[in-house]
Symmetry: C2
Subunit: 172 residues, 2 copies
């Protein structure tokens, strides 16, 4: 059997199941990626809570609506946010109760409803978004513009590599 054929697997796309199970570099990369992201996400959550008394999921939902002033259905929110339908149902309920959203039936589909930011919701979101943008800039202030470009490129490559594994891959 092919033993010492270390030669770069190229794009072979053959599962890694090659020789020995030594994938320490990839494991360490994944651990660092996860730790780093969680650290940033935790800090953003903490600040949103302490400064604006809002949770990250609610902020994210409001951000989607801010980008779509015409309103969105729950299904659109669900797919844009990459979370389940039931999740969106609950988030919208709570934001409606806070008076940050408006809701109206879809004119074309009686199953669906359209939600959008209320005027209070839009005002609140704009204020939060400005500050949030500065937090993010501060967090990445240690990276040069070149670093940011490099990281964008590498993350793009990672995303593409991951996409090959998600959903099917083997499916005909």
């Amino acid at each position: 059997m092919m033993e010492d054929t270390v030669a770069v697997p190229l794009d072979a796309e053959t599962k890694v199941a090659e020789r020995p199970g030594d994938h320490q570099a990839e494991l360490r990369l994944w651990l660092r990626l996860l730790t780093c992201t969680n650290m940033i996400e935790g800090e953003i959550r903490r600040r949103l809570r302490d400064t604006f008394h809002v949770t990250l999921p609610r902020f994210d939902l409001m951000a989607q609506l801010d980008k779509n002033p015409g309103g969105m259905t729950l299904g659109e929110l669900s797919s844009r946010m990459m979370v389940s339908n039931g999740n969106v149902t609950g988030l919208v309920e709570r934001l409606l109760a806070q008076g940050l959203l408006d809701r109206r039936p879809s004119p074309s589909d009686r199953r669906a409803q359209l939600v959008s930011l209320s005027s209070e919701g839009r005002r609140a979101f704009r204020a939060m978004a400005r500050t949030h943008e500065n937090w993010i800039a501060d967090i990445f202030a240690g990276l040069s513009p070149g670093d940011i470009d490099d990281m964008m490129r590498l993350l793009g490559k990672t995303k593409a590599s991951t996409a090959r594994m998600v959903a099917g891959k083997d499916a005909p």
Copy 2:
């Protein structure tokens, strides 16, 4: 495109708040980092569930115990995993109920207890870890060794930059 003179609300106050509030590059980087990490994490969760009927937090807890055969206190688990004490209490309860953990009182401190993998837990974890390692290798298969090095370095830089913001920073 956006109108180009939106009169930046220049509310300064933070260090980044230089001239204009244009931190689009950093925002896009953060969005991509988050999306990429969530995509990978979601896939790993899905596979752990479908293949081994285990959740990621339980897998992570078992991984800590596998690295510490002498047993760990809940507090050690909590700080290593970077989650709250109450969270660990619940995870340990469920893993004990599954027979995957052993628990004994700490010989030196009657407030504390030591938990470790049961023999069944160790056997189960080892099997899962081997497969998990291959999943991670597959996911990052699109990155060259050089890419992995670059990404490790950039994430290290990001982590250091973030650490400056977390906990205090302004505190005297």
